[in-house]
């Protein structure tokens, strides 16, 4: 009296087969979703760019191929012959910047130098530096006015240029969902423009308003393009990605001073290696009354402000 059903004799679908089918369907749906961006593929994203890995996973050969491709793209899209390199942090170097608020006269030459050096979009006057006109007696940059347009310096005002503070604990890095931004060993917070998805979380997280978004494809005449470029700094950014001050790493990692410092007509800016006790920036820390912006946030900026006397 054996009543058990022999599987061989079963006519309908077994549970196992049904589940397999459902699984295959879900898999196919997930795959379709995963490759959906391919259907939105536009001409300005090449296949190589689409499959490009994260900067930190690139081999030197990968990187070389990418740099040549970017140079070629710049030639095609902007008509300029540029050299794009990749400069690595130096051993024993940690960059620090100091700015003398007693002498800054608010001329915005630093912002202009940044605009030119870093191949910023011309129509939007994009720059990594924003100069605030501040009322004497307050250090609150939120109360500053960046849109002043009258002869400077005004007697009852002081002027405070603000750019990326290269925080020791950068909140912009913490919030990035794809790790497209990180802090390098020399203290510079960089962005892989090709990995950034443009979500702008970092812009919202930065209490210094130091991050910039490329709303449009940057417009720069070929004659004005700075041909000395690097992957993590001043190469022309694609549309829809974030960017930020990188202490001119294509200059500073070669020992040069940043463009904003060289442009400053008052000598308000001091740049150097924080690990070298003889460096100029260390002299500021040793001999001046120094403060950092929004110290209470505990982000430990590597950008210092000081007053004379």
């Amino acid at each position: 009296m054996d009543t058990a059903i022999d599987p061989e004799e079963s006519k309908g679908l077994s549970r196992r087969t049904a589940l397999k089918g459902v699984g295959a369907m879900l898999g196919a749906a997930a795959f379709t979703k995963a490759i959906a961006p391919l259907t939105e593929w536009t001409r300005d994203i090449s296949a190589e760019e689409f499959v490009q890995k994260h900067y930190k996973e690139l081999t030197p050969i990968d990187l070389q191929i990418i740099l040549s491709r970017l140079e070629k793209d710049t030639k095609e899209q902007y008509g300029a012959d540029v050299t794009i390199k990749d400069y690595k942090p130096q051993e024993g170097v940690k960059f620090g910047y100091a700015l003398n608020l007693s002498v800054c006269n608010g001329c915005r030459k630093c912002a202009e130098a940044c605009h030119i050096e870093n191949n910023h979009d011309r129509p939007s006057h994009q720059s990594y530096i924003r100069v605030f006109e501040m009322s004497k007696g307050s250090m609150d940059m939120e109360k500053g006015n960046a849109h002043y347009n009258h002869p400077v310096p005004q007697p009852d005002k002081f002027y405070m240029p603000v750019q990326c503070q290269q925080c020791e604990h950068p909140p912009c890095v913490d919030v990035c969902p794809v790790e497209a931004t990180w802090k390098e060993s020399d203290g510079i917070v960089v962005v892989d423009y090709n990995w950034c998805i443009g979500c702008r979380y970092c812009e919202a997280a930065c209490p210094y308003h130091a991050r910039r978004f490329n709303w449009t494809k940057p417009v720069i005449p070929a004659s004005e393009i700075n041909p000395n470029q690097s992957y993590l700094s001043n190469r022309i950014r694609p549309q829809g990605v974030m960017e930020k001050c990188h202490f001119c790493l294509h200059r500073t990692r070669n020992g040069r001073l940043p463009a904003c410092l060289e442009a400053c007509p008052t000598g308000a800016r001091v740049f150097g290696n924080l690990l070298d006790p003889k460096s100029e920036v260390r002299q500021v820390l040793a001999h001046k009354r120094v403060f950092v912006l929004k110290e209470e946030l505990g982000l430990k900026p590597q950008f210092f402000y000081f007053f004379d006397v």
Partner: protein
Amino acid sequence: MMSVYLKTSARGLGRKTFWCLLFLSATFVETGAETIGARFQVAASTNAPLHPVVIRMPSGTPKVATGLTNFHGQPVMASCSSCHATTKPNIDTRTTADLDQFHQGLKYVHGNLTCLSCHNAKNYDTLRMADSRPVEFTDVMTLCSQCHGPQKRDYDMGLHGGMNGHWDLTKGGRTRNTCINCHDPHAPAFPLVMPVLPPRDRISVPAKPNAKPANH
């Protein structure tokens, strides 16, 4: 050389006529010649050889354009002593406003100093320290530092004055300004300037003047 030529022509023209011409010439401009001087500061005790820090020093005594040109078409420049060697110094002259000829229009706003506080009445091709020792025009920083000690202290630490070149002297040199590259010695305060590149983003846009205040 120039002063010799000047003296020769002065003899030919008649001294009075020459000075009149000189005075009438509209382009009586004082020029501070500045070139890269050969001053080096080298930090000690580093393994790698360091590139020099060059301070842009005045190349020599300043020359004044007379407005005349020589037979090569070059402007005739006169050194201070060309005129002052034969002019009796007047210690009462406090500013250029006290003069009725020469140095007209030279803006002078520098504390309570008088011309002869810094210019050497015994030799106008040099400057004068507060203790009346002469000091060369090329050594102008020594002169300024007498009063501006804190600035000199900061300058020596690399914290005052603009610079160009390299932060890392093992990779390249640096050029630093001297006092008079940025400060007009006769009116050292920075002039008002119009700011460049007004921002066009929406951060920190000032409230419109006709906007209602948030609370009264």
